[in-house]
Symmetry: D3
Subunit: 250 residues, 6 copies
């Protein structure tokens, strides 16, 4: 039995609150249980220097936690004067994952900045961030598509992320909360598209290793979780935007 | 007439949502109109090196804005690797203001960390931060008073902050929003206690100067605004905690 | 009785030594008693990026203390690799104050850099800095007005700063030295123009608060102090430059 | 056909030169084709603050490239004053991977510092680093085991890493060189133990995604590559040390 | 003929103003012509971590220039967030040179901090700094010798520094000013003791080289210059302190 | 007798391995006994901002040590976030020395970046770096001379560096290893051209001083050492390139 009485392959409650803030082109407040992340997407009409003049767009992400998102207060990275390795890893992951489902040529020479700010953490902040950031990005790109009259809608598929792991009893579990994450032997983050392909797969034995069969088990329940998150994304983005993303008639 | 049709000495709608987050000892989400700030208070059972061994407590504050709290995305201070002068000024102000109404001896050798994170900005972020931080701090100190069985309740008075200014027409106005703040000739931040004394007064002519009479006019409407904010603080903190702070029987 | 036997509203001896250094366009050595600050004004024929192309000038200030300006040696900010919050606050204040008496349009697209380097500190370094920096700036702008044949003299009024406070006996005192500053309950910095208007007002209760009457008392003696500093500025700048600043015939 | 005429599941030539430097407790020069990395292992008789007093050891890694390890000179991270996200990711990966095959309790309260310095880069620098670092670490721990008379040999299994990918023709390939890495659609780093379990799995679609079958194909050839690297490790570490690691009689 | 009409081996006017500041244990304002440096010596009753428990003292130096010590304003190193290579070289040189004439064992476990702040620069700032710093240090150590009743006076010899060079006409010249320094082919800094031995010798061909004979010529005139500076040091330090340093009866 | 049984004026074994790495335009692995440095020269087709538009080239150097080049592991400067004073001094010295034998006008508007990375240290890393960097630079400039069809070969003379010192017995010794360097009273680095002129001379008494005669003795043996290093440089660069550098027919 899991600490919060979920079944092994049961997700926590997922909610995505659309247009959470007034200024950004796209924004959501995403919750995976008690993990809450504000995700915003901002459109800037230029690209970084290394991409200029190619007619292509760019998507980049930043990630942070409020100092008291966690049980113990963590020191602000602005006070320390540097960004931690963990933060860098996560923000590189978010950006890379989102770029996999966007046609950067159709986006044109502009940047979508993704900001994921965790206001409350209970495990799975990176998977909640990716899943929420996709929704914020889709909203922002919808807006830019209309305003700049882009001929092709640049978002090509849905995208979501979920964690899976092997707990101390050797059982595969889905969407680990903080208590489970701290004690699991194996932790895997799975990022998949709406059409069921992998975009990122990061599995780590925490001072441990895992077998080929355990890998297959985690992928199996992960895939189910992805499906449920994408269902929630579709529900809040609405039929019309969903149809644009999947390329089907609405 | 003001942009949002308020009377010159009319505050925006103020709300304070208590216990907004699960981890901190005290937390609120404070709104002054569209300005929204998450204020948390964290208790740490030690003080900074320069205060050790004196048996006194300490209160310190940090302030930040989400990148997209503003109309244009601002670069994260963690990415720039340094905290801006504006941020430093504000967090020093918040800490200093709160310390003025706390008996640091009664608090004992522990630190209350205040974090004010602006999630949406529309002018007055520092006054909303101070007003919300007071409530979060009172909640955290209430908790520590019970848990550590402090003999005396360390918070000695209410505290709130409000801005006043002289607009381009020369009229004194209260609680400026962003549009007003950008065009005002004079901008004053007033921090006062529940008993009507000043704790901080910061008035600035923006490439302009102001007369003695204009100062008095701003103080007058500022004092009214402070009263209304403290009324809201009392309402959410409840009668018992209010009585402890004011030193009266509940 | 004050530690150095001054009357409550008596200033320390003020001296301003003109053209103290050979390289800067304007420079002074200003003393408020034992507080000594080298103030220089440097003219650069361009403005910061955010102001380009508007035909307006800019004035910006930097402030520092020699490590042994103080009783205890302080660590250099260059060694620490960052500028403290206190330094940032002061240099922002100096720049803002000076800009209030300069017509930036008449100055044209150039920057006046103000540098205030405290070589000996005994309280009131920020007010001595502003008062000395005004003189250095006036000298530099006089030079640029001649060399660049500016049609209008850009400095529009005199400007000086002084501190006032309430000492532990509850008495309002003017121009606090270090011993007084460390023990005062209230500390106020007042920046005023030659025509008697406020440019900045920063009053702080140091773990204390102050009443409306105490505020008025401090403003009263502050105003007297400002008058005496401006008299000294006029004396060293000379009649001709004074007349240009006040807009009167010499 | 691959650029260097290898078969799809063929590794580049692997060499590991033992005791390459005179000072470190363990050191090798590892080559995967033209990729050359100096790996050293240094033993320090203490652990980081967060681990003190637990009687456990720690293993941590740092990674860097010489500026001209690459075709274009890259700027030194010491000159930039910060470590890039890519570097942080790699050094965290190396440390985590090595810790998975060491019994930190048996190691005792000491740290093994791993340094991987790439002197020439042609793709696969992180997999060469992990594979070489394992050998350097085994040598250093062998030395410490003798000198400190550790009752149990702390290294519990062999460990190696290899990359696999899907090239633009959709074919799974092993041990990508730089030319292949730049054009592959999918890139996967696989870290495995001598007993055939996974320690880390990091697969990334580069602006692309990959199917479940492609994943299985990459894992298959990756497993073969791991076997060949471990064979080389055993050959240079010698029978006696190999037996200690595998727990068999030599 | 030199720009300021000096003879080839003629020094600029040297002045050393004793006890220039009120707070430091030792301080001077030293001038080599128009080059002016405030040198202070501060005594701290502890040594850096790497020297603790040895009963020996330490002497360390920091060097900086006011932004407008130079013809063009230079950016503050505190604003840039790092100390330049030139500054580091100079402050390491000053500290090393002073340590050569102090018996660190006799000094006892305390640090003398030397601060050299150039307020006006016209060439030779490092030689003026060393020559002035010696005087400030002697004053501070005299004070500590009395207060702590040191049995042996720790300063063992006089120390001064001067520059010599070969100008574009191939002539050896002494104590170069800025105009000469910018055009000289060779620049040499010579640090010598009162008894005529070398402590530091740093000669540099500026995109040029120099012969053995040119070296001997520069050493010759340098030695003369050193003599004149030490004469000035003796004159301001007084007979008694001079006798203590030279170890003779006064 | 010296620790490694060398005669006082005997060099350690010197080897220079040409074209050590595949990517740089010029590279060597230089050894002075157990001191081993990888020196690379990279050509960039532009110059730093302060030199643009003058048609002249530039040569600049960076220096670093692998963490475990030394007996005790040293912390990476990239981890500390800043470059030490020692490193800055050395890299400024290398760049300055090399520029003295190159005609920057003939080089044209391009930069040669020198990187010296010490992989094993046993004293004399800066002199080995300069001596090896000269060879790497000559190789790179030879390449650019051919590819860009430069009319004049820009390298005008050979250049090498060696250390000399006075050991604790008062004897002058050449090419100090680490054990000697740590105990010597005087340490001198001598950089000379193939035609026997000085480019840099840096002599330091380590808490000691040295006489004129000791200086002459060190210069004498230093000159002999320089000759032997240049002989090795000529041998590996070959007759044709040697003739270009010395300006003689091959």
């Amino acid at each position: 039995m899991r600490p919060d009485e979920r079944a092994p392959s049961e997700m926590r409650q997922i909610t995505i609150e659309k247009n959470y803030l007034m200024h950004p082109e796209g924004s959501v407040l995403v919750s995976f249980g008690d993990t809450k992340v504000i995700c915003t997407a901002s459109v800037e009409e230029r690209v970084p220097p290394f991409m200029r003049g190619q007619g292509k767009g760019w998507i980049t992400a930043e990630y942070a936690m409020l100092p008291r998102a966690t049980g113990q207060r963590t020191i602000r990275e602005s006070s320390k004067g540097k960004v931690s390795g963990r933060t860098m890893e996560i923000q590189r992951l978010i950006g890379r994952a989102l770029r996999a489902v966007v046609d950067l040529d159709s986006l044109g020479e502009r940047t979508v900045w993704i900001d994921c700010d965790v206001i409350q953490a209970d495990g799975g902040t990176r998977t909640a961030s990716i899943s929420g950031a996709f929704a914020a990005m889709a909203l922002a790109i919808q807006k830019v598509t209309v305003e700049k009259e882009l001929p092709v809608f640049p978002v090509k598929d849905f995208l979501a992320a979920v964690s899976a792991g092997i707990n101390a009893e050797g059982q595969p579990i889905l969407d680990l909360n903080y208590a489970e994450d701290s004690t699991a032997d194996v932790d895997m983050n799975i990022v998949m598209t709406g059409s069921g392909e992998f975009v990122e797969l990061q599995g780590t034995g925490e001072e441990a290793s895992f077998t080929h069969q355990e890998l297959l088990d985690m992928l199996q329940i992960g895939q189910e979780g992805i499906g449920r998150i994408i269902q929630e994304q579709k529900s809040i983005l609405g039929e019309e935007l969903t149809a644009k993303i999947t390329g089907e008639q609405s």
